[in-house]
Amino acid sequence: MSAVGTLKSWEAMMLALLVAIIAFNSVGSPYFLSVGNFVNLFQLSIEKSIVALTMALVIIGGEIDLSVASVMGLAACVMAWTFHAGVPMPAAILAALGAGILAGLNNAFWIARVGLPSLAVTLAGLIGYRGVARILLEDRAIGGFPDWFNTIGQQALIGPLTAAIAIFFVLFIFFAIVLHGSAFGRLVYVVGSNAQAARYSGVRVGLVKAALFVGSAFVAALAGILYAARLGSVRGDMAEGFELDVITAVLLGGVSIFGGKGNLVGVGLALLVILNLRNGMGLADITGNTQNYVIGGLLILSVLIPNMWQELTNKWRGRET
């Protein structure tokens, strides 16, 4: 089966799964099919969804960024801290985005320039950036942001959509174009499938990787700010542990952990699958713990079943010939 065929079948599988889940939820809960619920379903995990987009690019590029949740927390804390120190909100937001870019540059330096494995660098980042966030806020919670800021996070802005949801769709289209329609996107695939070969053919591998990590941290910082706007208050533990959920969504989207394979449509469908599944289970009064292992099981089965299917059909074909 060609690579394209595999990808197409992956998306078809996700789409079928999504349709099944939506059908099941619609029958199972009278509250599922409503505009309000669909907005909530997006809104409740919108920051993770946003970060999943750049995580997909990083993983397709053959690397991993474990520090995204800590960068989200760091950005939110930098914003709250500078705002609390009397800086106007727009400047505080810029400072938070700046902190995100700095974190990204730091990751990029060690990975792309020094050549350390991204797993090690971003694991240190996961601990370290969270630590900086803690230094800033200690045991405080900072809220009382301007109304316009809370409105961005909490109120419908475009039709029934909140700003964060709108930003997600804009970023989705943007990154889809970057990944699938630009020269840079092709480089990401080339670097992800074989960095060595890419280097020999003159690709500036370091530069591509640096761009991925700075982009990842910048988008994580943006997501952290949106998260703060949604909750209206910031603490040192903002977004703690989100990285595993984000990576789960990307892998469920058919992106290969070894790099070079996957696309944003698959990731988008996987996000919809997870969000609808969680929402349906939530409306059926199933606790978060059970939701987690249903999604964990789904993650494994989504790869296992097609593999076994292929194995079986191969055997069958083998017998025919």
């Binding site: 320039r113 020094v114 240190a124 045991d139 060595q196 370091g206 713990n289 964990g296």
Partner: protein, 353 residues
């Protein structure tokens, strides 16, 4: 010197460089903290790294084969909780049997991982990210919010972490640390001298070649996960003995500490190189930092930021030292080695961004 260069490869000195870094850290802390050079400090670090080390040995085997096991924290919690519950209700249980059950339970969870990775051909990250959630989820659902408490456990288990197996002067070598040491030594010898165990390296450094010469890749990968599960089960028992109070939260997040130890210990995350001794030294390095930073008198809130920075510096200086050693060893060999451990060296030869 030339003789040395012929006999020893830079990778083998890697552990030595980490040891130097650890000693440097100890000297640094010792000059700022009163009573730092004491048996108590030794015991603190030794006890804190024992459990991580046992899991890190298993993780090293998995990582050597180009895989990763993220479910170890859940396996540790699972076995600690269920073996704890079992012992709490059957206080008369034979200690050896209890340990055997813990190891078997861990191994069984490892079998699940191993089968799906090796024969299901599902990437290890995907499998173990899933079982991380599944094992923990089953634990929470089955537990009914009960906690294993110290007073329900038999005395031998409560006393176990304090047992002093090798009193050297007034220095205690406690049972759990000794157990971790024995495991490290056994696996170090095994992976160095047993031809079967060399397969972990062969498969990780070049899977295609391993397949060509007919190595049973699937069985070896499977075995790595089973051993990792079994050692995590043993670590679960150690966790039960050391902390006594086991909630459904036990061992949560341990996977990150273990991966950190393995990475700091110089085990290549792309497989094929690294040693269990290195993983232990990685655990000791992180344990030393964690245990000492607080006593340095810096605020609780600064700990993680400093720890993150130091882990990064440890990994970076390790890479730099290795690079220097390779240059020292000469250019001809460098190319050969660069091929073997593709990531570190090849990235460095890349044109700067």
């Amino acid at each position: 010197m030339n003789w040395l260069k012929r006999r020893v490869r830079p990778e083998q000195i890697r552990e030595l460089s980490l040891l130097v870094l650890i000693l440097a850290a100890i000297v640094f802390f010792g000059s700022f903290i009163d009573n730092y050079y004491s048996f108590r400090t030794f015991n603190r670090i030794a006890s804190s790294v024992a459990i991580i080390t046992v899991v890190a040995v298993g993780q090293t085997l998995v990582v050597l084969t180009r895989n990763i096991d993220l479910s170890v924290g859940s396996i540790v919690g699972f076995t600690a909780y269920f073996v704890g519950t079992l012992i709490a209700s059957h206080n008369g249980i034979n200690p050896i049997l209890a340990v055997a059950i813990a190891i078997a339970l861990g191994a069984a969870l490892g079998v699940v991982n191993g089968v799906i990775v090796a024969w299901g051909k599902v990437p290890a990250v995907v499998v173990t990210l899933g079982t991380l959630a599944i094992y923990r989820g089953v634990l929470v659902d089955l537990s009914g919010a009960k906690t294993v408490t110290t007073d329900s456990l038999p005395q031998w288990l409560i006393d176990l972490p304090l047992v002093n197996v090798a009193p050297i002067g007034s220095l205690d070598i406690r049972a759990l640390f000794m157990l971790a040491l024995v495991i490290v030594v056994a696996f170090q010898i095994g992976t160095t001298y047993l031809s079967f165990a060399r397969r972990f390296y062969a498969i990780g450094s070049n899977p295609e070649a391993a397949q060509l010469i007919g190595l049973p890749i699937k069985s070896v990968v499977f075995l790595a996960f089973v051993i990792c599960g079994a050692l995590s089960g043993l670590a679960g028992f150690m966790l039960l003995a050391r902390f006594g109070n086991i909630t459904v939260e036990a061992g949560r997040g341990l996977e990150l500490s273990v991966v950190a130890a393995v990475v700091v210990g110089g085990v290549n995350v792309f497989g094929g190189s690294g040693t269990v001794t290195g993983a232990m030294l990685g655990a000791v390095m992180i344990g030393t930092l964690e245990q000492s930073l607080f006593r340095l008198g810096i605020s609780e809130f600064w700990l993680d930021a400093v720890l993150g920075l130091l882990i990064l510096l440890a990994v970076a200086s390790d890479a730099v030292i290795l690079q220097r050693l390779r240059q020292l060893w000469g250019g001809a060999e460098l190319k050969l080695l660069a091929k073997e451990t593709d990531s570190v060296s090849s990235e460095q030869s890349a044109s700067p961004p």
